[in-house]
């Protein structure tokens, strides 16, 4: 879990204390965009890992072929003994070739939730005229009217404030808490299909070690 706390008290035109205040939409959108970028970074890292450790790149074509590892496979099947005409157990030991990607417990690590927590005092509300009504489309409802935009300033945490001493009470503290939770999320369908194809195509193709008992 990443816990970001931003506190500040500058008095620029966008800081919230003077002027029209902070645009609430960007205050919420900022951490969400940051979380989305962090998510994309994690996914890219995993894609790079899969390509660099589970696949081999052909230097000429640039195609990636799966890295194959040999695995030992023993099976016992009932067969009919041609001499005695009785069923007997046939044990064979084979080597199967398996893509290494099917041996790795892959799962996607991604951002599962983002909590943006702050208390805000609305200091301004603007309405901007929408100009989308110039073209009339029969299939799309006309966008009419004004879009409200809220501006405010982040107030200090009221719960915390109760425990603060009177001297601190008038201090201008802004607090924005962003909690980002990352957890394992299911593999994308494309990746699942690829793994299924690989695991279903495993066959004992080297019978040179086969022995009958």
């Amino acid at each position: 879990m990443i816990n970001l706390k931003a506190a500040g008290g500058s008095s620029g035109p966008e800081s919230g204390f003077k002027g029209k205040g902070i645009d609430i939409a960007s205050l919420i959108g900022g951490p969400l965009i940051a979380a989305s970028e962090a998510n994309a970074m994690m996914l890219n890292k995993q894609a790079d890992f899969i390509l660099s450790t589970c696949f081999k790149e052909d230097p000429i074509t640039g195609n990636h072929a799966p890295i194959i590892v040999p695995i030992s496979f023993k099976r016992s099947i009932l067969i009919r003994d041609e001499e005695t005409d009785q069923p007997k157990l046939d044990t064979g030991e084979y080597t199967i070739e398996i893509p290494i990607i099917t041996l790795i417990p892959l799962n996607t690590l991604g951002v599962s939730s983002v909590d943006v927590d702050f208390e805000m005092e609305i200091v301004n509300q603007y309405e901007s005229n929408s100009t989308n009504s110039s073209q009339h489309s029969s299939s799309r409802p006309k966008s009419v009217g004004k879009t409200p935009k809220l501006y405010g300033k982040i107030s200090y945490d009221s719960k915390e404030a109760e425990s603060l001493k009177q001297a601190n009470r008038n201090m201008n503290r802004q607090k924005l808490k962003v909690n980002i939770h990352a957890q394992e999320i299911p593999l994308p369908d494309g990746m699942k299909t690829l793994l299924q194809l690989y695991t279903k195509s495993i066959i004992p193709n080297d019978k040179s070690n086969s022995s009958n008992s």
């Binding site: 695995i71 023993k74 016992s76 041996l103 790795i104 417990p105 394992e184 695991t199 495993i202």
Partner: protein
Amino acid sequence: MNTIQTIQCPNAECHGTIQFDPYLLIQGKSFSCSTCNSVISLNQESKEVVKDTLEKFDELKAQTKS
């Protein structure tokens, strides 16, 4: 974290699956098919490369979780 992997049983006559833990596989443990009792285990020559890949995967997970 669930590390159990599943592969189709390589026995052509069997339609079962083999479940295995790759971390135990590199330690030399073998896993069997619940339908036909066929057994898979890691070849000596594969151990190093699989171990190396699993270690890199663990490093990546540690990086992205921090």
